[in-house]
């Protein structure tokens, strides 16, 4: 029982990182743009929040936790959105290939983040391990009272606020996409931009907004990873990149439905951490178990293409640029 509870907790921690990435990417893909820059965007979000808070905490003797959190969140959103903006300008206005641009963004983002993550101390003239204790503590603060409710508290209320924020965002996104006029417009742009354009929907504006907003949300994933998952430090070990690709995988797994991202993300977390709870594994065979999320995604991909069901298809014009002038 104890083991199951801690597996669930580990899965929630893990899942929240990719849930943010996934929700952002769903929004982007619903606008018809396949952004393979998610890892880079999450890196940018993570490093912006860390840098902002690092500077703030270093400049005041008694940092205010509320300001810390706000600063981290705004910086993460802006960092991610900036990555999205680069991608949007290139793919929408300059009409570059989406996949290639996304990959370039991933290279750029991981370069920027790991560079500053590794050099922030040197640049600031401080030489200890990089740390933002106040912010990280604020991020990891569990809801009062509820977290003491025995096993229920442990299962559902032992997390920082961003875990709940991710769920709320998923629900809002689902509602927006399927129950509002704006969401309908956005989906039309992703399915058939010609028709959307003819109906008077501003394709370019919709795409720009969806991509930047989506990238900002993906950026939160980076912030959650840095502030909560690894407790306000930085590690140049490429984990965010791995998680970013998992977020892309999760989009397929959920069949582009944000609400499915909630359980999908936790399921990926369970799959990823399962090896810790299977007795008798050697260090080598653990690595085989860590393949599970990826293998499951491949299976889902294959099965959906075999079944060819109508509602589980990607947006029809995903990956294609829209040029009004093209006949």
């Amino acid at each position: 029982m104890q083991g199951l509870v801690s597996l669930f907790q580990a899965a929630v921690f893990f899942g929240t990182v990719i849930m943010f990435g996934c929700i952002g990417e769903i929004l982007t893909e619903k606008a018809g743009n396949l952004n393979l820059g998610v890892p880079g965007i999450m890196y940018l979000g993570g490093i912006s929040s860390l840098t902002a808070v690092f500077i703030y905490e270093g400049s005041t003797p008694e940092p205010n936790p509320v300001i810390c959190v706000l600063l981290a969140m705004v910086a993460a959103f802006l960092g991610g959105a900036l990555g999205g903006l680069i991608y949007a300008v290139l793919t929408i206005s300059l009409r570059t290939n989406q996949n290639v641009t996304g990959l370039a963004l991933s290279i750029f983002g991981s370069g920027v983040a790991n560079f500053f993550g590794g050099s922030l101390n040197t640049l600031a003239g401080r030489f200890e391990q990089i740390a933002v204790p106040v912010t990280s503590a604020a991020f990891r603060k569990t809801p009062p009272f509820l977290s003491g409710l025995g096993i229920v508290g442990k299962l559902f209320f032992s997390y920082g606020f961003m875990v709940y924020l991710a769920i709320i965002l998923a629900v809002i996104c689902q509602y927006f996409l399927h129950h509002t006029r704006g969401g309908l417009n956005l989906r039309t742009v992703g399915e058939n931009p010609q028709a959307a354009d003819a109906a008077g929907i501003d394709v370019t504006k919709n795409k720009y907004l969806a991509i930047c907003l989506g990238a900002g949300i993906s950026g939160f994933g980076g912030a959650y990873y840095v502030m909560d998952y690894i407790k306000g430090t930085w590690a140049n070990d490429g984990s965010i990149e791995k998680l970013g690709w998992l977020a892309v995988a999760l989009v397929i797994f959920t069949a582009w439905r944000p609400k499915a991202a909630i359980w999908g993300a936790y399921l990926f977390g369970v799959l990823y951490w399962m090896y810790l709870y299977i007795p008798g594994l050697t260090r080598a065979s653990q690595e085989i178990f860590k393949m599970l999320p990826y293998v499951v995604t491949i299976l889902v991909l294959v099965i959906t293409s075999l079944k060819n069901s109508r509602e589980k298809q990607p947006p029809a014009s995903l990956g294609l640029s829209y040029f009004r002038e093209e006949r």
Partner: protein, 367 residues
Amino acid sequence: MHDAKQLREPFLRLSKREDLSMGRKIAVRLAAVVLALIVCGILILSITGMNPITVYVTMISGAFGTRSRVWSTVKEMMMLSCIAVGLAPAFKMRFWNIGAEGQVLIGGIVTAACMINLKDLPAPLLFLAMAVGSVLAGAVWALLPALFKAKWNTNETLFTLMMNYVAIQLTSFFVAKWENPYGSNTVGIINQSTQQGWFPQIAGSRYFCNAVLVLLLAVLMHIYLKYTKHGYEIAVVGASENTARYAGINVGWVMIRTMLLSGAICGLAGFMAVAGASHTISVSTAGGRGFTAIIVAWLAKFDSATMLLISLLLAFLQNGAGEIASKCKLNDYASQMIIGIILFFILGSEFFINYRMIFRGSKKKEV
């Protein structure tokens, strides 16, 4: 009747153009690179306070300053070109093989396995085993997504992407299995004392063989894509699958055949990375080159010579930026950042080659 005043012309219109001369095209691309280098210079200046001229002098000395640095740059360039050459036929066919990273790794694993387990074989046999094994492994890794794409139209971008991580975990598995010394979680230099299965040293460098092999591959690929029936079929499938089908081309088979070739060359790149360069295997054996090479192949429009040129530029940036980083005690991810910026600029520059911008009130007539 239309009132001319009410018909407002848009501020900016775009029209396609295909009439740009070769010289102008090269000029646009060069301008993009120069612009990107200026932006990078400003960036480095603002971070390190180094004067931009010093920055580029340091970069040049870092990449080409000594004999061994030149070879290290050549090694990097060849690795990147090899993967790009492997990817070219797949991408020309518009098959999004994002899985080069995994195909390289799997080739590397097989090579390392041969070096470790078959070290008592005579050298020629060992090399044969490594080469054939890595080629087959890479081909199989690429075959899976190709089969599903050809049969059921499974999305290959995401399939190949996921195959990367399966390969990475497989690498971790073997690293843990072969670790040496025990507990280090690295494989260490394989056959350090006997140098079994290492590429021989020619012309004073271990990387000479790599360079020759890759150049040969690049030439062969150029011929294959330009002057053979296979190459023509690839081009037709890439331009339009329906046209290809109408012309009687077996699209599924072309896909599978081309991906086998693509994966095989990427597997061979893994062979070169392990037997010809690092003599060890780790999850960073491919080191993101599988992704960078995609952009190289795409920017070069699958032309072998251009791929070599772009690879050289990127290898120069990587080693040059590494030198700056070590001089200023910063970490060498700076090179990735700079490579990212350069790629953005070159990608963006294509727009100005392919489109003509017509501003409001401009006298030029659209054709």
